[in-house]
């Protein structure tokens, strides 16, 4: 087992990893930028090293500084958290070269899943259902023919992309030539490659993702699914498990396919396999995230497993302490991502938190690095806290989340708490009837959804 782990991250996830390490009796090293000098992850780690100025590129993305910090503190493993270097295959390789264990998947898995088009192709070969689509498109004529075969509407997508860029929805053959061109230009500018492919477009999809874990002894398990359909501009706002749309039969069927595919590529450590669900409850593989995710607590609440501890155990070469392919899910969990932003205009709101009181009570969990008198810096993401609740069923979880949101006091900055209260009060949400367009109904322009 590791003696000392360096956490190459900040904020709530750095604190989360420190929690797991403390409980395992492993010493921790925090790294921080000058803007994070008073952060909780710095305070609670056993050692801390300042690695650079506020800018991420010079601190949390600075591979040399992070490796150097591991060397001078004698750390034997690095946990990358999520974001930053978590899905950077070169960083994973540098760790290996410097004899530091990277707590995550193998570099080749990260590399495969980082190329969205290649990942889709490989997963299709290995038996996962995928949206009808193409390889990288060469000519306009090729695009028109393919779109005809797939059936409109189709989406033009950047092969090297993500986050909504280099993507265009095409509803008819007349629109295709110019939108193809635009998408290619945007892809070139954003990702350095103009490679695009076509894919069937689902107008009102739901977003369902399966949590997986693999060890170095060939075992892969799935720990249920999460529904992450409530999004704004491809950013998740609220997540829950299980999904109201996934019954035991579907879960077993798709879960089984996921395990077979991941065993075939020798996948290790934590990961999330993302699917789109159409109006007929059919699931199509979208992409895989080769890291621990923001919303992992939702799965922890319904399975009773500590995913970060399992990541550490697996990275240390231990076998997953799980019988069979999967775990039973108990009850229902919901997570609200509470961000520093205005709840109506969604404009970010950095600044100083003057009052902070976290809700407690049965079935309530708060993952946060914020505290009274702390400053939310403008350089990083706006996530202040994750509020997670667990109830015996969805109705109790909703009631509990309502109660917890009401009792969460954050003063001095604007937060998205009012938005979450609106979501939970919405009849469609309560009935489990929504798609990724759901949040449009609360947008400043007031377009329906």
């Amino acid at each position: 087992m590791f003696r000392k782990i360096l956490i190459a991250n900040r904020g709530e996830i750095a604190l989360r990893v420190i929690c797991a390490c403390k409980e395992l009796g492993i010493r921790t090293v925090a790294v921080y930028s000058e803007a994070d000098r008073y952060s909780l992850h710095v305070r609670f780690a056993d050692e801390a090293v300042c690695i650079g100025p506020a800018r991420s590129s010079e601190s949390y993305l600075n591979v040399a500084a992070i490796i150097s910090a591991a060397e001078i503190t004698g750390a034997d493993a690095i946990h990358p958290g999520y974001g930053f270097l978590a899905e950077n295959p070169k960083f994973a390789e540098v760790c290996e070269t410097c004899r530091l264990t990277f707590i995550g998947p193998l570099p080749e898995s990260i590399r495969l899943m980082g190329d969205k088009n290649a990942a889709r192709k490989r997963m299709a070969e290995l038996g996962l259902p995928v949206l009808p689509g193409t390889e990288v498109i060469g000519t306009e004529a090729e695009a028109l023919k393919a779109a005809d075969q797939i059936g409109y509407p189709v989406m033009v997508k950047a092969s090297a992309g993500g986050g909504g860029r280099g993507m265009r929805i095409v509803r008819s053959p007349d629109e295709l030539p110019s939108l193809l061109q635009t998408a290619q230009n945007e892809a070139e500018a954003s990702f350095g490659s103009s490679d695009v492919y076509l894919e069937k477009y689902i107008a009102s999809p739901r977003h369902i993702e399966f949590q997986v874990l693999g060890d170095s002894h060939g075992k892969v398990v799935y720990l249920g699914e999460r529904e992450c359909t409530i999004q704004r501009r491809h950013q998740k706002v609220l997540e829950e498990s299980p999904s109201t749309q996934v019954g035991a039969e579907l879960r077993r069927e798709v879960g089984g396919k996921v395990i077979r595919a991941l065993k075939a590529i020798g996948y290790r450590n934590a990961g999330t396999v993302e699917f789109l669900m159409d109006e007929n409850r059919k699931l199509y593989f979208l992409e895989m995230n080769t890291r621990i995710q923001v919303e992992h607590p939702v799965t922890e609440m319904v399975t009773g497993f500590d995913l970060v501890k399992l990541q550490i155990l697996v990275a240390a070469g231990e076998a997953l302490p799980i019988e069979g392919e999967t775990i039973g899910l108990r009850g229902h969990a919901i997570e609200c991502r509470i961000c520093a932003e205005d709840a109506v205009s969604f404009k970010p709101s950095a600044g100083k938190i003057t009052g902070f009181h976290v809700p407690g009570g049965t079935g309530v969990r708060v993952d946060t690095a914020a505290y009274a008198e702390s400053i939310i810096p403008p350089y990083y993401d706006s996530l202040i806290a994750k509020l997670i609740v667990h109830g015996k069923d969805r109705a109790e979880a909703i009631a509990r989340m309502n109660r917890a949101l009401e009792m969460f006091i954050i003063e001095g900055i604007s937060t998205s708490i009012p938005l979450h209260e609106k979501i939970l009060a919405d009849p469609d949400f309560r009935a489990g009837k929504f798609s990724t367009q759901f949040l449009n109904r609360f947008s400043p322009n007031g377009t329906g959804g």
Partner: protein, 181 residues
């Protein structure tokens, strides 16, 4: 203010904390092996925690001089009323008050005072240095980075010891410029 004793709280004169006072306080706490200290005075709150030493890095180059009693990592949490970063605040304070330039480490690594274990140090206390003159080496990932002086003047303070791990922004040398800044 060399040699000034730390007074009891009832005797502390009504003025703001100088860097010298904080340094003397730290020296006293190290001498007395105090583990934790917190105090609020004159609009500034100071909390000092002594942590265990970082220990010798296993990957240190052969022959490097690692002292067995490496200094502890004292994490100074001074929080003035307007919550400015205190290291910068204190450094700026020292710079402004005494017209000196503090050389800070631009990278994370291990500080070496000389080019080789048996060679003489690049600089000693009292030496006059020029802009661009190599003051020390900070080793990171087996690369020896030469740190060049940003000011011309006299080396009046060396903040770190040979073989000590340093972080980004850590004070290395105080140089008293020969011309007014």
């Amino acid at each position: 203010m060399a040699g000034k004793k730390i007074s009891r709280s009832s005797e502390v004169p009504e003025r703001s904390w100088e860097l010298e006072d904080i340094q003397q306080l730290i020296d006293l706490l190290i001498e007395r092996e105090v583990a934790e200290f917190e105090m609020e005075k004159d609009g500034m709150r100071i909390r000092i925690l002594r942590r265990e030493s970082a220990g010798t890095a296993p990957s240190a180059p052969a022959g490097s001089a690692h002292s067995s009693s490496a200094p502890s990592n004292n994490h100074l949490h001074a929080m003035p009323a307007d919550s400015e970063a205190p290291a910068a605040h204190a450094a700026a304070h020292e710079e402004a008050a005494e017209n000196v330039h503090i050389m800070k480490s631009p990278i994370v690594g291990t500080f070496f005072a000389s080019p080789a274990p048996d060679a003489p140090s690049f600089v000693s206390l009292g030496d006059m240095v020029d802009v661009g003159q190599v003051l020390c080496i900070v080793e990171a990932m087996k690369l020896m980075n030469e740190i060049e002086s940003e000011a011309a003047g006299e080396v009046v303070r060396i903040h770190v010891e040979n073989g000590q791990p340093v972080e980004y922004g850590q004070s290395l040398f105080t140089i008293k410029p020969s011309k007014p800044k």
